[in-house]
Amino acid sequence: MDLVAIIRIAMRALARNKLRSSLTMLGIIIGVGAVIAMVSVGQGAQEQAQQQIAAMGSNMLFVGAGTVTRGGMHMGWGATKTLVYDDMLAILRECPAVKEAAPGSQASAQVVFGNDNWATRVNGSEPQYFDIRSWPFQEGSSFTQSDVDMAANVAVIGETVRKNLFGATDPIGETVRINNLPFKVVGVLAPKGTSAAMGDDQDDIILVPITTLQKKITGQDWLRWIMVSAVSRQASYTAQQQITSLLRDRHRIRSGQDDDFMVRNLADMADLADQQARLFTVLLASIASISLIVGGIGIMNIMLVSVTERTREIGIRMAIGATEGDVQQQFLIEAVVLSLLGGAIGITLGMGASYMITQTLGWPVLVSPTAIVAAVVFSMAVGIFFGFYPARKAAGLDPIEALRYE
């Protein structure tokens, strides 16, 4: 018998018990749908994490003033005063894997414009900071190196600050007051969103020349951090090692002693986030595949019932010349049609569900073709695996007994 005829017979047999067939398919539909939705959500999360890390800057390393223990007290991040501007110059001079570096320090300040005021972070740095963090301007431009040299009162503001202070007003050229000092706004940064690593609003920020911050706002001459960019993503690991050994050397830290700084590699963080998202995907998918197996057991159950119900039909078919192979094929195809049909519906539902989930969470929609192919193959395999035993049972019937079956 040709395959088309067998599939037609299978479809008709399934159409005979529409409710039963649909309920049986439901297991596969839910299983496949869940796998597709979960894999899509997992991959969307992975993509989202990657995008956020990429948004923080490419090949970026973060050198922070570290923790220190004084008299048994463990002081927080940035508590040391040992990280200085000369360290940055040394890094640029002595670490070949490093491309650029920008110093940084930070203060909290109340910023006033007209009748509006806003509490925000004020960071001091140098113009290359925007380069290292691959942070474009939506308006205006960065302060210049000569602004840094002269400790000029100029500021670059983030999107959140612009929104809260200026609203519809064009901020370029306007003057804001930071801790009562007047600053001229020269640039507005493009929005970067929430940071993946810290979860804070990266756009809630004002940047001023490092010299201005140190001399006029904080009165401190040490740095809180140095932003470094490596020559390439691979080089960021080398850069990390070079910076670590250089700074240990410069800060005269003996072997065995803890660093008084820390070097964070964004490539590292990206990998970590990637790994976590992948694990998340695998976990979700494996939970979802359990329902696929349960669906397969449902198919097996119904096929066994079907074989018993149709014992007489099997007997008739055998009496008029169906071989064991013919009968086995018929029931196997029926199970496969059942599971494939369920798989197709499941894919549609899964895609719909993942679209809805990603819409709600604001993640990128990522229905992976691999997941769809895998779902089709897997549901077919489920049909074959769980349909085989009932089909074998049907084929093994004795035609005489089967014909006599009431």
Binding site: M1, A5, R16, R312, E313, G315, I316, R317, M318, A319, I320, G321, A322, T323, E324, G325, D326, P399, I400, L403
Partner: protein
């Protein structure tokens, strides 16, 4: 129509060209736990092409077992069975299925049609397993239904047909692969007397066309329509004799009251 009832070509191996069924000292046991049921105790028989044989006997006489063996649904425990010169007892299951498909046409007591499948599709079924093309299968099925007088009922479902009509669909199905023998197991068991005679009329017509018919029945008035009567008792053939004063079903029908009367 004659082509359908015309038997297939003879095998040159067979000495007697006219012998279609040759059974030599066939025994059949069933082992049911401790006890052994001896269903056939040495049966030897020859049936020639074009015969119309009635197999009779009470239940337990071995006639059903005999029919299963003749129909290649079962194999003898010992002895030989040659169908058109082919030693059937040595064939594999798949080969037996092919023999059933091509050489034997089954008609059962309970009609055994697939419900929710039209008359035409029921008749087509054996052609599907014979790897006949779809068009050829359909044409043959239509011809066979025409032959049994149901040319206008091809798209009816079994539930829409009377018992006699269902049995005629079953006969058409048995004929569709142009078998060597038509094997009918109590074909009138579920039918009233008039319809039974109608079915016998179809059998006689087919037999007149040259088809070999083997009919298993326990109704002696039905067995009268055959040309030869074989009586089974306790797993052996007790009597084997030609039927005397064989009635012609078509004539009998004229004298039977119709359902409307």
């Amino acid at each position: 129509m004659a082509t359908i009832s015309q038997p297939a070509t003879d095998t040159p191996l067979e000495r007697d060209q006219r012998t279609i069924i040759q059974i030599d000292d066939v025994h059949k046991y069933y082992d049911l736990g401790e006890t052994r049921v001896h269903a056939l105790r040495g049966v030897s028989l020859r049936i020639a092409r074009g015969e119309f044989v009635a197999i009779m006997g009470a239940s337990g006489s071995g006639k059903s077992t005999f029919m299963n063996i003749v129909g290649c649904l079962d194999k003898p425990t010992s002895g030989r069975y040659l169908l058109e010169g082919i030693e059937v007892s040595s064939l594999s299951k798949n080969e037996l299925a092919a023999i059933r498909n091509r050489k034997i046409g089954f008609v059962f007591q309970g009609f055994n049609l697939l419900s929710r499948t039209t008359a035409l599709e029921n008749v087509e079924l054996p052609t599907l397993y014979a790897h006949v093309s779809k068009e050829e299968g359909r044409k043959r099925a239509q011809d066979a239904l025409q032959l049994v007088g149901l040319g206008d009922r091809t798209l009816h479902f079994p539930s829409q047909l009377s018992g006699g009509q269902q049995q005629r669909v079953a006969i058409a199905r048995a004929l569709v692969n142009r078998p060597a023998i038509l094997l009918a197991d109590e074909p009138t068991g579920n039918l009233d007397s008039r319809t039974s005679v109608e079915v016998m009329e179809v059998f006689q017509k087919l037999n007149d066309g040259g088809l070999t018919v083997v009919l298993v029945t326990h109704e002696s008035d039905i067995s009268q329509f055959a040309k030869r009567g074989i009586h089974f008792l306790d797993g052996k053939i007790r009597r084997d004799e030609p039927v005397q004063n064989r009635p012609v079903a078509a004539e009998v029908l004229k004298n039977l009251p119709t359902l409307e009367d």
